[in-house]
Amino acid sequence: MNYNWDWNIFFKSTGIGSEIYLDWFISGLGWTIAVALVAWIAALAIGSVLGVMRTLPGKVLPAIATAYVELFRNVPLLVQLFMWYFVVPDYLPEATQIWFKQELNPATSAYISVVVCLALFTAARVCEQVRTGIQALPRGQSAAALAVGFSIGQTYRYVLLPQAFRVIIPPLTSEFLNIFKNSSVASLIGLMELLAQTKQTAEFSANIFEAFTLATVIYFVLNMSLMTLMNLIEKKVRIPGMMGGAK
């Protein structure tokens, strides 16, 4: 293959202001992190509430949570993103619509859409993990918690959830990494996150291989770091005498 690799490209001027291509990648990485972290926090909160709902006695609350999960995990992520960005805003009240479409900076409205989309999509998956984590606990645990006089809320807060979350750290880690990877869909609605900046670099400089190689390395290092962080957390909260914890 006749290709002249030029790794110096990242330090060359983009021709726009005084920016070099590396600046674009840094800014893109910043957006990627901003999208993924905010969406993750929301997904964790919403997913936990839904997961708890699925394990509650009665019919109505579990049914609502189940319907949510089925809806959000059976529609492709991209379709959901386009819904949130192109369709849903048209159904907002007049004033909100004008604000969202005209007054907001286009980057901000794209950002809001993608954060809402990823948060709600990932919440469905977090819900299933939280539910499994709770259901994996011995049934006697909730009986014992109720028997000492805990309310249902206290039973979840002090007994079930602290154990369930420890059990599901590995699958939650994988979901946490997924949200960073999935955030790349934002490039399709014009948010200049890492993938969008990579494509732009490739088009501007024609150094397509270098651009995508750097993007690959950045995604890889980012996710490896997050995984290491989650492993540390998992070790830190491990219960002595259980699940392979130190005696």
Partner: protein
């Protein structure tokens, strides 16, 4: 005065009847042993007392409070009844100390100092003060069950329910748990115990209840129950002949 009064209680899982018209009572300071073959409903019956198992018919009163009444504040009622489970059910993510204090603080609203003092007092009584800083997974089954008894006692219960407290234990650990229970009985604690430990029943029980197929078949004084085996119902005799053989 009866501390636990069970009146004509029946319970169904769908069409299947698990409790049939059960009536008995446990007086203040009384020790009642409930025995019977597996599947006879004895665990279910004891769990209806603190409403861990709902029932469809009949009434249960604990210290005069109706358990089945929808208006009853169940957490408040349960906090006054100690319960010990077959599988201990200590909270594995909490240290022994936290297991002993969390409900005292969160349910009874005691201060940390008070809860700690009370918890340590009972941990000492079950002979495990040295294990305070450990986690449940680091203790043997017998030790865990003793902690579970201390956890229940720290709430100053008006009665204690034991649901096969020694069934999940290795044989050499059964006695350390029974010793604690015997001591408790001698101190005048009101106790309802589902157990197959007939030695324990002989030693401290005031009354013995025998259940079969969801119904109370025998309910009599200990002396009567063990004294004249031939006067017992056929099913009770059959059961006793099996567990008293050795």
């Amino acid at each position: 005065m009866s501390m636990i009064a069970i009146k004509n209680v029946s319970k169904w899982y769908g069409d299947f009847q698990v409790l049939t018209d059960c009536t008995t009572d446990v007086k203040k300071g009384e020790v009642v042993v409930v025995c019977g073959p597996s599947g006879s409903g004895k665990s279910t019956l004891i769990k209806t007392v603190n409403a861990l198992e709902p029932f469809q018919k009949g009434e249960i009163f604990v210290d005069g409070v109706s358990v089945g009444d929808p208006k009853t504040d169940l957490p408040k009622l349960r906090a006054r009844i100690g319960m010990v489970f077959q599988n201990f059910e200590l909270f594995p993510h909490l240290s022994i100390t936290e297991n002993l204090t969390i409900a005292q603080q969160r349910v009874l609203g005691r201060s940390q100092d008070e809860a700690m003092q009370k918890g340590m007092h009972y941990l000492d009584r079950v002979g495990l003060k040295a294990q305070a800083g450990k986690f449940p997974g680091q203790l043997s089954g017998g030790q865990q069950q003793r902690v579970a008894i201390a956890r229940a006692l720290a709430m100053d219960p008006i009665a204690m329910l034991f649901d096969e407290p020694t069934s999940a234990l290795d044989p050499e650990m059964v006695n350390e748990v029974l010793d604690v229970m015997v001591e408790l009985a001698h101190e005048g604690m009101t106790m309802m115990c589902v157990t197959h430990e007939m030695g324990f029943a002989r030693k401290v029980a005031d009354r013995v209840i025998f259940m079969d197929r969801g119904a109370i078949v025998e309910d009599c004084e200990k002396e009567e129950f063990f004294g004249d085996i031939d006067a017992r119902s056929e099913r009770a005799r059959h059961f006793l002949s099996k567990i008293l053989q050795h």
